[in-house]
């Protein structure tokens, strides 16, 4: 196991193939990141949706109670 490049600059340039290699790995980070985050953000939006519904239901209940008290 040894590092195959002499310097960091060489590691980045990869003897001219750097842009291609790095573009691919960058694209992979984006794609996997999207796959990871999409269900999480969806879950969040479902949660806020539910919270809003609960709030509305509570308010309606409170209003009904007020009306019946009066």
């Amino acid at each position: 196991m040894q590092f195959r490049f002499d310097s960091f600059a060489e590691f980045l340039s990869m003897a001219g193939h750097g842009p291609y290699v790095w573009a691919c790995y960058f694209a992979a980070v984006l794609a996997l990141g999207y796959i990871i985050l999409a269900p999480i953000s969806r879950r969040k939006s479902i949660q806020t949706q539910l919270l809003r519904q609960e709030k509305i239901a509570e308010q309606q209940l409170a209003m009904q109670n007020n009306n019946s008290n009066a």
Partner: protein, 246 residues
């Protein structure tokens, strides 16, 4: 008794509760494998004699292509189970598999094209494999578009299940046809040679493939869990599960 697990599997609630404990493990193990093999592939793998450093893309390209293809079969099998046994959960798996598969297919195409530039001197070649993967992407996009087009979820599930099953019958035929078509038009200069690969390069590749499969499993479970929450939002247990964490 023997079939109990099968019926349980049909219960979204059971599935959701059962998988909760696995999720962090699956994600961290798969990411650990993917990241460590990537570091190895970028910095420590020996340079390929013919292709130079560009072959380091192979560690991304090959696993994504394999998993992208497998995802289609997962989707179609889930769709088939959904049609035959009317299993709710199975339909959800089918629905969420399509976007994941499409993203992976797009990634496979992108890495393939970028890899092609330094090796073949062009981003796009009408090579048999590339063409097949492109058509696979179209099949995914078709299933997604069909799923989106219906306002009724039950119809959307049935329609996309039928389409993905038809696609499954077609995929081997498409692959064979494209392969046959390519042998007619193949310019001799761009032949892929993947027959001999040094074991030093092979083992990390195998590890990466396993890593991507694990990641796909996580992604599928995770997206299915969100889908369960959405579809079962009226039930008590979903409300509890969501409000607890809020």
């Amino acid at each position: 008794m023997a079939w109990q697990w099968f019926h349980r599997l049909g219960s979204p609630k059971w599935f959701y509760e059962k998988t909760t404990a696995w999720m962090p493990w699956l994600l961290s193990i798969s990411l650990l494998i993917i990241i460590s093999v990537s570091i190895w592939a970028l910095g420590f793998a020996p340079m390929d004699a013919k292709q130079g450093n560009s072959y380091r893309i192979m560690y991304l390209h090959v696993p994504t292509s394999i998993v992208a293809m497998a995802a289609y079969y997962v989707m179609a099998i889930a769709g088939g189970i959904g049609i035959i046994w009317k299993m709710k959960l199975s339909n959800m798996v089918m629905k969420v598999a399509a976007p994941i598969g499409a993203v992976l297919t797009a990634l496979a195409l992108f890495t393939g094209a970028v890899w092609g530039k330094p090796t073949w001197g062009t981003y796009w070649v009408w090579d048999a494999r590339i063409t097949s993967v492109l058509i696979l992407l179209f099949l995914y996009l078709g299933v997604i578009a069909l799923q989106e087009a219906f306002s009724d979820q039950e119809m959307a599930d049935k329609a996309s299940a039928i389409l993905s099953l038809v696609g499954t019958v077609n995929i081997p035929i498409i692959y064979k046809s494209v392969d046959w078509w390519f042998t007619l038009h193949q310019p001799a200069s761009i032949k892929m040679t993947s027959s001999s690969i040094a074991s030093e390069m092979l083992y990390p590749l195998l590890a990466m493939i396993i890593g991507f499969y694990l990641f796909f499993t996580w992604a599928l479970l995770s997206a299915t869990r969100s889908e369960i929450l959405q579809r079962e939002i009226k039930t008590k247990w979903v409300k509890q599960a969501l409000l607890q964490k809020a």
